[in-house]
Amino acid sequence: MILTARNITIRYGRHLAVDDVSLTAAPGEVVALLGANGSGKSSLLRALAGQQPHEGRIAWDGRPAQVGDIGYMPQNSVSRVALTAFQVVLLGRLRSLSLRVANADLAAVEHAMAEIGVSHLATRHIDTLSGGQRQMVLLAQVLAAEPRALLLDEPTSALDIAHQLHVLEMLRDVTRRRGLTTLAILHDINAAARFADRLALLHQGRLLGIAPPRDILCATSLRQAFAVEVAIDQGSDGHPVVLPLRAIR
């Protein structure tokens, strides 16, 4: 689905969280939202997911999102609850679930869990899982719904480096294969540079720019967005590599 967001503004009382942001995203594309804490990333993502009142216009393929179009994963917090990982992923199929669960729903759950690599956790209670395992189960829940767009708020924040690589590779792969439109908030700039097609850089609610990693990652933009001095190198695969040097006070 083609995302077109125009002049999105979000206020919490008198605080301006997102200030006149416009962006687009295309099917098969991964866009990473980057920015310092409080820069408006999560508010913007919630608005794109239809979960946040806002000014401006958001269209998916030229119309408002339909039920089931968007798979939205909020930040990693789940109430303590006696549900197994399988049951949690099954809830991703909520729209089609009835009292008697169809085989197609169960198959979609098994497929999503296998895709993320959490099949072995199926019978574990969600509150007995580590933060990283829980995050992967919740990601499987989003994929089980078979949405046309993925909006993910820090999907890898609790993952170790191996699982982070696995999940990001899988997300890029599934985005390409299914022609999804994927926007993800990431804190790891280098991971974002490697796996996202474009990076959207936010600062104090405003969009500093949205462009491919090598075009937007420079010392000036990162100093403005994160208040850090950085050195930028090039990785063996051609992606820019950011080395943080010091914070600017």
């Binding site: 039920v67 109430s79 549900l83 399988f86 809830l91 009835s98 759950v109 869990m113 829940q141």
Partner: protein
């Protein structure tokens, strides 16, 4: 391990647990009919129930005196159990029950009001009291739901509105107790203890009809209620209209609770503990949790009804006292046993 196969196996196991609860309920129901000042052999009870007995005394004891009480215990226990489960789910609060949001307090005030003004009413007290209790339970529900509609039905707001409602009706109840005549006061206190002795077949049928009519509404929301257990934001992300669901479920269980307590008085503990027992045994899938809560609520109140007649032979203790007396040790044992098993 195949996740779907394991899930199906767990579902079958949980359904068997609910069936086992059904067997326990059947046993308790029979015991409730057999026990009392005249202890009856179970075969005589069965003969009276099936109409094969010519003994008019036996039939009067079983069919007229004990059957309404035994059926009422089951219907009220089931209504309180399922209501407690839904309250705990929609408020994200393990301590929630019909007491939390002032529904029972509203019913108590309604009953006390009729007892106080008594003879001035055109209806016989046996019906005027439950009608008033139900009406004021409905009023308490409308007050809380009204606040929820105006300001967004968050758990915090509903609990605050409910606690305010609870204090309002408790204060009004205290006022009534203060001004009540010496004849009315013990009646009010006795109503507040909760008792099955006021049961009749028609009253049991009304509670059962409410249960039968409203349970499908709750079961239709079973998956959405399960999703709500993950938290409001995640439920919303899954497409649940959280505020609407919370208000709808609240109104349904308030009606159910109102109908239950209107006839028997404020019976505590069942609505709190039965859902916890059910949750420990069948988990959080509300398709199973709701029937299991109803089943274990019914078992708990039915067993309490038997116990209320056995503790001091010849005396029937108020059921509201018994539910806590037998429920607390059982609940403690279950918590400790489950804790060791994990």
């Amino acid at each position: 391990m195949n996740g779907a196969a394991a899930w199906r196996r767990a579902n079958r196991r949980h359904a068997l647990i609910i069936l086992a609860g059904g067997a326990a309920l059947g046993t308790s129901f029979a015991a409730d009919l057999a026990t009392g000042p005249a202890m009856l052999p179970i075969l005589s009870v069965l003969r009276a129930l099936s109409g094969l007995s010519d003994d008019t005394m036996l039939r009067a004891i079983v069919l007229t005196l004990r059957l309404p009480i035994a059926l009422m215990a089951i219907a009220v226990g089931a209504a309180l159990g399922v209501s407690g489960a839904v309250m705990q789910t929609i408020l994200h609060n393990p301590l929630a029950s019909s007491y939390t949001l002032g529904i029972s307090a509203g019913a108590g005030f309604g009953a006390a009001l009729v007892i106080t003004i008594g003879a001035a009413l055109p209806l016989p007290e046996a019906w005027a009291i439950p009608i008033a209790a139900f009406a004021f339970a409905g009023l308490a529900c409308a007050l809380v739901a009204g606040v929820g509609r105006m300001r967004g039905a968050t758990p915090e707001l509903l609990v605050l509105a409910g606690i305010a409602c609870l204090f309002l009706f408790q204060s009004l109840l205290s006022l009534l107790q203060f001004i009540a005549s010496p004849e009315a006061l013990p009646q009010i206190v006795f109503w507040l203890f909760g008792s099955l002795q006021r049961a009749s077949l028609s009253k049991a049928a009304i509670v059962t009809a409410m249960l039968v009519a409203l349970s499908p509404v709750l079961m239709a929301d079973a998956w959405r209620l399960t999703a709500l257990r993950l938290g409001d934001e995640r439920a919303r992300a899954l497409g649940v209209r959280v505020e609407r669901l919370r208000l709808r479920a609240f109104v349904v269980v308030s009606l159910l609770t109102g109908a239950a307590v209107a006839f028997v008085g404020t019976i505590g503990f069942v609505g709190l503990v039965a859902p916890h027992i059910a949750r420990m045994l069948v988990g959080e899938d509300q398709r199973l949790l709701l029937p299991a809560s109803a089943m274990f609520g019914a078992v708990l109140l039915s067993v309490a009804s038997v116990a209320s007649k056995l503790i001091l032979p010849g005396t029937v203790f108020p059921i509201g006292i018994i539910t806590a007396l037998i429920g607390v040790p059982f609940f403690a044992w279950l918590v400790l046993a489950t804790g060791r098993g994990r």
